[in-house]
Amino acid sequence: MKLYLLPSDNIIHFITKLAEDGPVFYPVFEDDKVHLNKFDKDKKFELNFEKIRTVETIKHFLFPSRDVVAKFPKDAQKKTERQYLVGVKNCDLRGIDVYDKVFLDWEPIDFGYKQRRENTIIISADCPEPEDCCFCNLVGLNPFCESISDINFTQVSSGLLFEAITKKGDEIINKMEDLFTGASKEVQQQRDKIRKHAINKLNKINKKSFKKDLPKRVEKADKQKMHNARKDCVECHACLHACPTCYCFLLSDYKRGKNFERVRTWDACYYAAYARVGGGANPRSKLDERFWNRFQCKFNYFNKYEGIYACSGCGRCYRGCSGKIDIREILWNL
C-alpha cells in the first residue's frame, strides 16, 4: 500500500476534519495513564501516540458494557453513528479480530455489533515503546498493525506516516489529500527503525517464547500448578473486564412501563454464579475450576475454533490484577 506523510502541523487539522463527521477518540495522558478520550476542538490537543495501549479497551466502543439489544413486544433498534478511534495499538486489534469472528462470522450475526463495526473507523498507530507488561509478540502479533484497522500510522520526527489498510481508509486519505505529502525514503527508513526497535524491546522484555504446543500444554496443565498460580487471586475480576478479547455477556430483562427491554451486559467467567443453572447445580463452583476454564478458553478452545489465541498480549490483566498474577509466567511454566 502507498505511504503518505501527515506533517506534524497538519495532525490537528486532520483530527478536526474527522471530528466534523463523527466523534473522534484519541489517547490523552491523565494521571500517569493514557485514556481514550473524546477529541474536543476547544481543548488543548496533545500527541500521545508513542505511549502503549490506553487503559480502556476499544471493545467499549463496539460492544458497550451495557447495551439494549431488544425491546418487547415491538422491537426497535437504535441506529449507531460514525465514530473514529485514533491511535489504537495492534494488541487491541486482536480483540477486534476475536469479536469479528464471534459476532460476525459465527451465525447468527449480531446486528448491533455489525452496525457499530461498520460505523467505526479505526486508525491504528505503531507501538514504538512497549512496556514491561507487554507481550503481543508471544501471541503472534507485532507491535504495529498490518490488518483489521482502516489506516495505520507510525509517528516519525516530521509527522505521522500513514498507510491505508482498507478501502475506507484509502478514501479518508484521498478526501483529505491536501493535508498529506509523499513519504520520502528517509521517512520510510525511520519507520523500519522504529519497528525494529519495538520488536527488539519486546524480545528483551519477554526473553522466552510460548511453546509451540501451548494449547496442548494448557489442555493438560497440572491442576496443582494451576491452583498454586491462582493463589493470589482475590476474585476482583479486573483481568476479565479489562481484557480486550473477553466477550462473555449476560442478557437480563428490565420493565419499562408495560413493555420491557433486553439488556446485554458484560459478564466474566470468574463469577461464581456464571455457569450455575436454575436448579442450583454449578459445573464450576470452585475458583480453581473457573481459573482453569479461563486459560482453556483463551489458549486452547478459541485456538481450536479459530486458530488464534483469545489473548492480545496487552498486559491489562497483569496491570489490573490485585494479586499481580502474571499470565505469562503461568504459560511459560506449563
Binding site: 439489544v69 431488544a70 418487547f72 413486544p73 422491537d75 433498534q77 464471534v102 459465527w106 451465525e107 447468527p108 450475526i109 449480531d110 446486528f111 509478540n137 501471541v139 503472534g140 507485532n142 520488536i199 527488539n200 519486546l202 524480545n203 517464547s209 510460548f210 509451540k212 504446543d213 494449547p215 496442548k216 466477550y247 462473555c248 455477556f249 449476560l250 442478557l251 437480563s252 430483562d253 428490565y254 420493565k255 413493555n259 420491557f260 433486553r262 459478564d267 456464571y274 455457569a275 450455575r276 443453572v277 436454575g278 436448579g279 442450583g280 447445580a281 454449578n282 459445573p283 482453556q296 478458553c297 489458549f299 478452545y301 485456538n303 481450536k304 475454533y305 486458530g307 488464534i308 489465541y309
Partner: protein
C-alpha cells in the same frame, strides 16, 4: 522477529459448519410475543403451558428461550410435536423465571426466542428400534421427540419408552400415557422410586428398567433425558449394555443466556451446549471431566 503462531488444532472441535445456519435476518435477541392459551398442571410442581399458536418453527430436540416479560428468560425444549398447531412447554418450577411463569394466567403474554441448537438426527433413526429413557421432567423434551416419531411411525421399527419418577403423583403426562400405550409399535414401561397402594408397575430408580434391554444395542439409538444423577447412571448402564457411544443421545443441562453460542455461559469444555447441543452424544462428551453437573 519471528512470531509464535498458535498451533491450529482442530482434531477434536466440532465441525464449524455446525455452527452455521441461524442467520435469518431476525434480531436474535428479540422474543416473539405470544399468549398462553391453556395451563395444565401435570404434577405438584410441573405444568404444561400451551401457547396460542406456533411462534417459531422447530425440530424435535431444538430448544427455545421462553420469556416472562420484564422478569427474564430461560431455555426449554418444547414438549409438543414440531407438527402441532400450538407450541407447548412442560416446565418444573425451580428458579426465578419459572416461579414468575407459574404466576401467569391463561391469556397472559410470554415471549419465545429460537429455535436454537441441533435437532435429533431423525433420518439416522429410520428403520431402527428407538430406546427412549426419561426421568422426572425430562419427559418433556422426550415427548416432543416421541410425537415427532409418531408422526412417521412407519419409518421406525419400534419405539420403547422407559420412564421413571419419584412417586406415581410425580409422573408427567399421566393423563396421556394410557393412550400412548395402546399404539402399535410403542412399548412403554414405567417405574417410581416410591410406590403407593394403587401402583402396579415397577418400583425402583429408572435404571431398574434398563436391566433387560429388548433392542439391538449395536444399531439402536438411545435417547436419555432427566436429572443429572439419572443421566449419569443411565448412561453408565447403557454403555455397559453395549450401545454405541455415538448412539447414546443425552440432553445436557447447562446455564444458557444467549442460546446461540456467543455469551459463553453454557460451554462445557470446548462444546457450546446451546449450539452443538443441547442433545449431545456420549461420544461428544465422554472426555469432559464432569459432563453431568
Amino acid at each position: 522477529m519471528e512470531s509464535v503462531n498458535p498451533v491450529k488444532n482442530s482434531d477434536k472441535v466440532l465441525d464449524q459448519s455446525q455452527r452455521k445456519g441461524l442467520s435469518n435476518g431476525v434480531n436474535p435477541y428479540y422474543s416473539i410475543p405470544i399468549k398462553i392459551k391453556e395451563i395444565i398442571p401435570e404434577t405438584s410442581n410441573i405444568t404444561t403451558f400451551i401457547l396460542d399458536g406456533m411462534p417459531i418453527k422447530f425440530e424435535a430436540g431444538q430448544f427455545a428461550e421462553l420469556t416472562v416479560p420484564g422478569v427474564g428468560e430461560a431455555p426449554f425444549t418444547p414438549s409438543s410435536s414440531p407438527y402441532a398447531k400450538n407450541m407447548e412447554f412442560t416446565i418444573m418450577q425451580v428458579g426465578r423465571v419459572t416461579t414468575a411463569l407459574f404466576n401467569l394466567k391463561e391469556g397472559d403474554l410470554v415471549g419465545v426466542r429460537g429455535p436454537f441448537g441441533k435437532p435429533y438426527p431423525l433420518k439416522d433413526f429410520k428403520g431402527k428400534e428407538i430406546y427412549i429413557v426419561g426421568g422426572g421432567v425430562g419427559f418433556a423434551p422426550l415427548r416432543s421427540l416421541f410425537l415427532a416419531l409418531l408422526h412417521n411411525i412407519k419409518d421406525y421399527k419400534k419405539i420403547y419408552i422407559r420412564y421413571g419418577a419419584r412417586t406415581p403423583d410425580d409422573i408427567v403426562y399421566r393423563r396421556l400415557i394410557p393412550d400412548w400405550q395402546k399404539i402399535n409399535g410403542v412399548d412403554i414401561a414405567l417405574t417410581v422410586d416410591v410406590g403407593d397402594e394403587s401402583w402396579k408397575e415397577t418400583v425402583g430408580v429408572v435404571t431398574v428398567l434398563l436391566e433387560q434391554i429388548p433392542v439391538n444395542v449395536k444399531s439402536s439409538p438411545t435417547i436419555v433425558c432427566g436429572p443429572p444423577i439419572m443421566l449419569k447412571f443411565a448412561t453408565k448402564r447403557l454403555i455397559e449394555a453395549g450401545f454405541t457411544h455415538s448412539n447414546i443421545y443425552l440432553s445436557m443441562e447447562s446455564n444458557m443466556s444467549c442460546g446461540f453460542g456467543k455469551c459463553n455461559h453454557c460451554r462445557l469444555g470446548e462444546i457450546y451446549v446451546c449450539k452443538d447441543g443441547p442433545v449431545l452424544t456420549w461420544e461428544n462428551v465422554k472426555d469432559i471431566e464432569e459432563p453431568f453437573i
